[in-house]
Symmetry: C2
Subunit: 617 residues, 2 copies
């Protein structure tokens, strides 16, 4: 394909339909954007119209167009393209007229640039590797999908701003990204300063600043905030990402939830099914028990059922053993039509997964069309148990049941994973389980305030972050059984992905100090400014942050967050276009008083990220 840039001063339009311009989406997107007025896409520039805009109503007008030559035949016919669409152009020679609603007869034309042979054709059906797309990102951006994604992103953020600023009196405040490290703040990029041994840290979120703004009387804050997190090489994470960051004074959990529901409804793209509000809400305990996860995809059932009571008098030895323990449970999910669509090999893989990742036994029960149970242990199930199971789990012909036994959390967590694996398998076989056009939001609430540290189970760490306020009804437990305290923390889940999270914060300096120093054993000095601020009449406050990249990824159905970011890094944190990060001449390190410590071979293997807790809202 030859691409050229073309400016044509053009003339009297003509006849016959060419058919629809192929990509009218951002035209109409932007038209619906503002109820007041249609944006003017050709103000201040050489063109009078975009290539996607001309209709038969423009017949006879003199227009100026700018674009790329999409197609050319014998210097007579041209198809001119810009990001709004295509238009056919005829350079007068004879009066031969192709079909078309409108075409443009050239008066003057100027070639503005030439174009080398492209490394790939910019057509959706041309498959290219992601590495090639990222290397030539400026060409990849010309694709319909990337244009749509980035324009939708801009449009949606603009609507969010209108909602927050114009409708609800929020103040957009920019907060610094060059700051001080947070306690336990691994995952933070360091920025050497010109003072020897002194470093800034790039902020993981504006968490501290937004709380300080509440103390400072900016009582309705928001920011579309750039955040930084160094997670090493993790798929579908970016070293810099964007969150819609919100904080309010004098608010409770319900207030934040209603605000976010309104925000999403107001900014939701017109070309998607509208979202229904209020969103359903579920406690963490219920989410874990029913879906085996704190971010359930509630577009489909396949819920986890506790069937311990069914097997109280079982003769199956391993169930007996489990149930004899104080924490022992028996759990199962019923995969509708699983016996019809899943194969023995699928179940073998599932059992291997459970054994390998959870050291758990999973038992399958297949029902054939005649409701016969087929299972390695079917003969040990008593008739009474069978009836009770059928009733509890609403088992039908051709269903499959996956059963496991063990400690509540572990069993639920495993079945939560298997539930998603079974859904994938069923969909591979053509069963529609999760409607991609459906946007199913869910609040998950009543999280525990603390978790025990995996590496040291006698120590506590924050489930959300250390600024989260305890649930008012659990405050009395803080000094006695802190692990039982629930936090005023809420997560927003969309189709099984966490897209936001927040909390009501601690506004009492003494309580904050107790939690940080006594319960979490953090270095309080690093947060002395925040503790001091709470002492000076901090109002009750709370907030939330929405992950904008993830949210847009789900809305556009993009396979990766890299597809909703103009210039993303690869999963290893590289910019494949410019080759960043890159070496730096020694003399440029000098002003920062640092030098490279080149690792020995053995050290290089340990260079992986150390996990740490997250201090953003």
């Amino acid at each position: 394909m030859y691409l050229g840039s073309w400016l044509s001063r053009l003339c009297r339009g003509l006849s016959r339909p060419i058919g629809k311009t192929p990509h009218p989406i951002w035209g109409s997107l932007s038209r619906s954007l503002s109820s007041q007025r249609i944006p003017e896409f050709s103000s201040f520039v050489a063109r009078t119209n975009t290539c996607g805009e001309l209709r038969s109503s423009h017949l006879g007008q003199e227009v100026t167009l700018c674009g790329w030559i999409q197609y050319r035949r014998q210097n007579t016919f041209l198809v001119l393209r810009d990001c709004h669409g295509l238009v056919q152009i005829i350079i007068p020679q004879d009066e031969k007229m192709p079909t078309g609603e409108i075409e443009i007869k050239v008066k003057t034309a100027e070639l503005l640039n030439t174009c080398k042979k492209l490394p790939f054709e910019i057509k959706d059906f041309v498959k290219k590797t992601e590495a090639l797309r990222l290397q030539y990102r400026y060409l990849d951006l010309r694709s319909f999908q990337m244009q749509y994604n980035l324009r939708l992103r801009s449009h949606m953020v603009m609507k969010m701003r209108e909602y927050l600023c114009n409708l609800h009196g929020f103040v957009d405040v920019e907060t610094p990204t060059l700051f001080k490290r947070t306690p336990g703040g691994a995952k933070e990029f360091l920025v050497p300063s010109r003072e020897p041994g002194k470093f800034y840290s790039l902020t993981q979120s504006p968490q501290q600043f937004k709380q300080l703004l509440m103390v400072g009387g900016l009582d309705r804050y928001f920011q579309v905030a750039r955040c930084y997190r160094d997670e090493g090489s993790r798929p579908d994470r970016q070293p810099e990402f964007t969150q819609i960051d919100i904080e309010m004074s004098f608010v409770d959990q319900t207030g934040i939830q209603r605000l976010i529901e309104g925000l999403l409804q107001y900014s939701w793209p017109d070309d998607k099914d509208p979202v229904a509000i209020p969103f359903p809400s579920m406690t963490f305990a219920e989410a874990l028990a029913t879906y085996g996860t704190d971010k359930p995809d509630i577009r489909f059932g396949m819920k986890i059922v506790d069937i311990s009571d069914v097997f109280r008098n079982t003769e199956i030895r391993f169930l007996q053993d489990v149930l004899a323990k104080p924490q022992g449970t028996v759990k199962a999910i019923c995969v509708r039509e699983g016996a019809k669509y899943l194969r023995r090999q699928d179940v073998e893989l599932i059992r291997e997964f459970a054994a390998h990742h959870y050291s758990q036994e999973v038992l399958p029960i297949f029902l054939n069309a005649k409701r016969n149970w087929s299972s390695p242990f079917a003969k040990f199930i008593m008739e009474e148990e069978r009836l009770e199971l059928t009733r509890l789990m609403e088992i039908q012909e051709e269903d499959m049941v996956l059963l496991t036994a063990g400690e509540h959390e572990k069993a639920c967590s495993l079945l939560g994973k298997l539930r998603l694996q079974c859904a994938d398998l069923l969909e591979m076989r053509g069963v529609v389980l999760r409607d991609p056009a459906l946007f199913s939001f869910l609040w998950v609430v009543d999280f525990p305030l603390f978790l025990t540290k995996e590496e040291s189970p006698t120590e506590l760490e924050s489930a959300h972050h250390p600024f989260t306020a305890p649930h008012p009804s659990d405050i009395h437990l803080l000094h006695t059984e802190p692990e039982k305290v629930r936090g005023q923390h809420y997560d927003l889940v969309l189709n099984g992905c966490e897209v936001g999270g927040g909390s009501i914060r601690i506004h009492d300096a003494q309580l904050q100090r107790y939690i940080l120093a006594t319960l979490l054993k953090e270095d309080v000095k690093l947060l002395s400014h925040l503790l001091q601020a709470l002492d000076y009449g901090a109002p009750p406050h709370g907030g939330i942050a929405l992950g904008l990249d993830r949210l847009l990824c789900l809305i556009t159905g993009a396979p990766s967050i890299r597809d909703v970011i103009a210039f993303p890094k690869s999963y290893r944190g590289h910019d494949l276009m410019s080759n960043a990060p890159d070496s730096v001449p020694l003399e440029e390190l000098k002003p920062y008083h640092i030098q490279v410590s080149w690792p020995t071979d053995s050290e290089e293997e340990d260079a992986s990220a150390t996990p740490s807790k997250n201090l953003n809202s």
Copy 2:
């Protein structure tokens, strides 16, 4: 002062005016913000009204207020404050009623937090050092002025977004800040990566990305972009700052200028005098010759006049000497009423300044009320010269003339400085020269494309940046006399301060390569991705960036850009509240393969910033 946080569920309003709430500015600011609808400041939160909002029309309503106790007497009268204003509250005991348009009779009240004694009172007349303000920034933010500045900033940026997105079809695209160093990119912060010896650089501006977006068909781009520049300790600079960053395809210089004029007019605060458009324009050559600077403050005259011809036959020896040289000129400014307001000591200081910083002699001529000339060299000025000078410079009684002689650029530059010094002196003596309510925008255009390097006068450097397109009429000079080529570069000046700058860019890869490699001798490899992008059908394009912090500083009349930023760094780059930058435990440097090189005492003195050119638009 005792500050407490107070939530009162309140009731039946009452009588008599208290007087106006003191700070109604952001209420009305936000009210005028959106023509469609008044923002709702009390949605989603515990309060029903803000403290600044209640009027006699609310009489009898039951309201809930949240705020800080501003004043308290005997637990009977309270003044409750929030960021919107004050309201008087009476806790029913007796029916004694103070004056007031409205006051609130308490039904229930809840104390939400206590407050320690503040380190300073939050009253505009209470003077405090900036260091103290920055240390307790969260308290300083409660001041009227900081609330006004930050709310105005949010409001103005929102209007800019409406103008760009909703009215003119721009797309808001977020570009990375973790990138690769730019050629000659000292002033760039480094961010060590987990790969030994590999560093990201924090971008000084989105310059390369916005040009790549044009190649990528996002033909009307903008971003409120965070930028980073490490300039060491410089007053009124910040290591991170914000620019309104804009780029368009198929645009020329006039198109960008009209866009920006419309943008500023649309977003201009309602409580300021409106700006008139179009803005006047002046060439760089004219600005230098008339105002001795590329950013003239045109709110007042005192223009530089070339009086070389007056002295062609002078008997004054040092003028003879200068005029005998090929580049020799004689220049002067006339300070209106200077003889009346300026003192001999002032003039002595001026002459010392000129001698010290410019090695230039400055001669004063004072006119007394009877038009007698008083000057060290008055007797050498011939009558004919005196008449011609009076005519050329419109000299009147009580004026003062400052005269210097030398090479054009140097003489102009010196007089440009003296012009501002004299203006300062006159204003100190009560003469109003520069109306602070006047916003005088000016375009400066036709800059040279290249400057000769100060340290090596045979080498060239970009006056703006290396992506600036040459003036079409000067292109033929590129290969013969590049120093004579003008660039398509425009600066926006407000009241003598540069608030923006941009250019039409080079879209021809060959020309860009020639300028970078042959003329500027830059390492083209660092920009190979950009050069390659230009080869793939780059459209003609251009753009601009406005310095948002500086612009708001001028609009609000703030003494420093730190007053329009929520959490600024000190001029040494420190966050005085949290003490960033800070030391980092050795083990946190390890994953980044760096170590600190502690300087010896002698090295420490050289640790100042090295100046370098700037690659932003």
